[in-house]
Symmetry: C2
Subunit: 346 residues, 2 copies
DNA sequence: CTGAAAGCGCTAACAA
DNA sequence: TTGTTAGCGCTTTCAG
């Protein structure tokens, strides 16, 4: 059909005006155009099926209308829904959203940074594995972080209140009578990444007068393989039944995979061992037993991140903001409630 | 840091050569450069921290190094893994992959086509809802389809062999003694989209001498909401127990959500009603009961699609190819096997 | 309100 | 092997 790519030039000719005038109408730059010229140009555009080449325009305006969203695992519904929320917010503003999945790999993350440095993006929204804040600030485009980071003070951040979320889970386990709680989080990320959750964990133990046992803190990848590994390492603990009665997992994917593996070994989650997840992905409601977890507001996280970015692109100078959402306990069946009145076993 | 965006021009000055020479080294265009010039340029690049602006280069070469992957639901692990396979294949070749999720909406799909028409992409990989092949061919860049389409003869296609996959499921249900099999697929897509699966269904019935009952064919969205709706509509059938003993679902998301809803109504999948899915997403192994399904080779589908696109971008003239992968039956617990020898109930 | 001209960063003939 | 000269398609002063 319209094989010969038609540009502003042919539109100008057909409309009997100059390229500048055409530009003024297509670029919504506010340049004033007479009604008749506008009319003529619009007709020509229609007739020729002209489509503005945003990339070429960007060369001049230094805008690419592309935004990179970098997440650790796009196959995890938690992240894919966040990505979608971002798209929903940004695309109507004319931005194209590029999703990068790092698979928790620093190598892949570096590749995306590389991409970013080649002036491809107007903005970045990212959950970094490495947390190299300085690196992020040197990407040539504004970035907003998803996920609380203690190190990131002067960069926009949205996230769940990690400590509160962990605390909600921990408190629930305590209420239901658990006293020997194990923790499983990611081995990726800087120490800082871990610290907030671990911190909440330690504070909780201290507050309740419970001992801290390093054996009960597992560091694994937050994916399915990590979940299987977690279960195996957990079961490899000598006399684990005496050591732990509950397991708090860093995310649902991990928890669900671990539950599967536990079942394979004849350990019934919610009976022999309580398991609590984090995120509340859709699958959590469908597992056996269904997974008790802490829901994070995915959609709001994504939307808030997009809004932060939009604001910053408009006003690069403004001070960095941070917005934290609370997690919400979703009670299902993977945590035993039998011990409700079974105080002080420790 | 390197705030003042540095371009080929400053590199040329520092190296004491012309822009052309610099271009020749950074663009790997094969233009010959003397060793000493190369050396000097590389040092200057290093020193200045120069990064080539691919977009600007693209303006000249008519390449954007961007590829659009359009899928119906990026939150479905089936699609997210395909997308990842595509990224893994394409990114090393220098392409950035933009993932678009249409959420089964023709409106959103149209927005992506719009994007594509503004010469943003070098290629498209897509699973279209609307199946408007002519539209796809007029996007200004080569496209490859994911998902078998009877209408798409002259466009590269990769997919699962829909009929074979459906047949595998149907045969298994038959073997295990089911004779009144219901079908649930998407109401989106043209009739052509449905036809392959429905066709296989009808052929199967005919072959086995089973009656075709339109009441047993459900058309719903292939997502969670669709699953719940499916279960409700199914249960609303008067005397459904007499009408159906098995339900073949268009994908696992649908099947899993339907199972959840069935359970909520006290119907036990795998006991009161056999359910079989399609795709074998990770969650299928963790549901209760675990889901019997037909596995599709996600990774290979994505890889094959990327390879097709790469080939076509190199050689636009070559004839269209089609590559179909078989589905593989994964037996779990959502299909009752009790009726093994319980022939001819129909 | 409009057109001419310059230029965003890069590549591609064409000479030299 | 290298530099010069034109643009790719668009925006943006700056005159008029």
């Amino acid at each position: 059909m319209s094989k010969p790519k038609i540009s502003i030039h042919e539109v100008a000719r057909l409309a009997g005006v100059s390229k500048s005038t055409v530009s003024r109408v297509v670029s919504e730059s506010g340049g004033s155009v007479s009604p008749k010229a506008l009319e003529a140009v619009n007709r020509a555009i229609e007739q020729l099926g002209y489509k503005r080449n945003v990339l070429a325009a960007g060369l001049r305006t230094q805008k690419t209308y592309m935004v990179l969203v970098m997440v650790p695992d796009i196959a995890n519904p938690f992240w894919s829904e966040i990505a979608r929320a971002i798209q929903d917010k940004l695309e109507p503003e004319g931005y194209s959203v590029v999703i990068g999945s790092t698979d928790w790999s620093e190598f892949r993350e570096e590749r995306y940074y590389e991409l970013a440095r080649s002036s491809r993006f107007d903005g970045l929204i990212l959950n970094s594995v490495t947390d190299n804040i300085d690196l992020i600030k040197d990407l040539g485009a504004p970035g907003v972080l998803i996920g609380e980071r203690s190190a990131a003070q002067d960069i926009d951040t949205v996230g769940t209140d990690t400590r509160q979320a962990a605390r909600v889970a921990l408190d629930y386990l305590y209420e239901t009578g658990h006293r020997r709680i194990a923790l499983a989080t990611s081995e990726h990320g800087s120490e800082r990444y871990l610290s907030l959750r671990s911190q909440a964990y330690k504070e909780f133990l201290a507050e309740k007068g419970l001992p801290y046992d390093p054996e009960l803190v597992f560091s694994v990848n937050l994916d399915e393989e990590g979940g299987r590994e977690l279960a195996q390492r957990f079961l490899a603990l000598p006399n684990w039944r005496d050591k732990a009665d509950a397991l708090l997992c860093g995310n649902d994917i991990l928890a669900i995979a671990a539950m599967g593996e536990f079942r394979a070994f004849g350990i019934i989650p919610g009976v022999d061992l309580s398991i609590i997840g984090m995120d509340d992905i859709p699958a959590a409601a469908q597992t056996y037993p269904s997974l008790t977890t802490v829901r994070k507001p995915r959609w709001r996280l994504g939307t808030a991140a997009a809004e932060f970015l939009l604001e910053r692109m408009r006003n690069p100078g403004k001070p960095a903001e941070k917005r934290l959402f609370p997690g919400e306990l979703i009670i299902r069946d993977s945590v035993s409630r039998k011990r409700k009145n079974d105080e002080d076993k420790s």
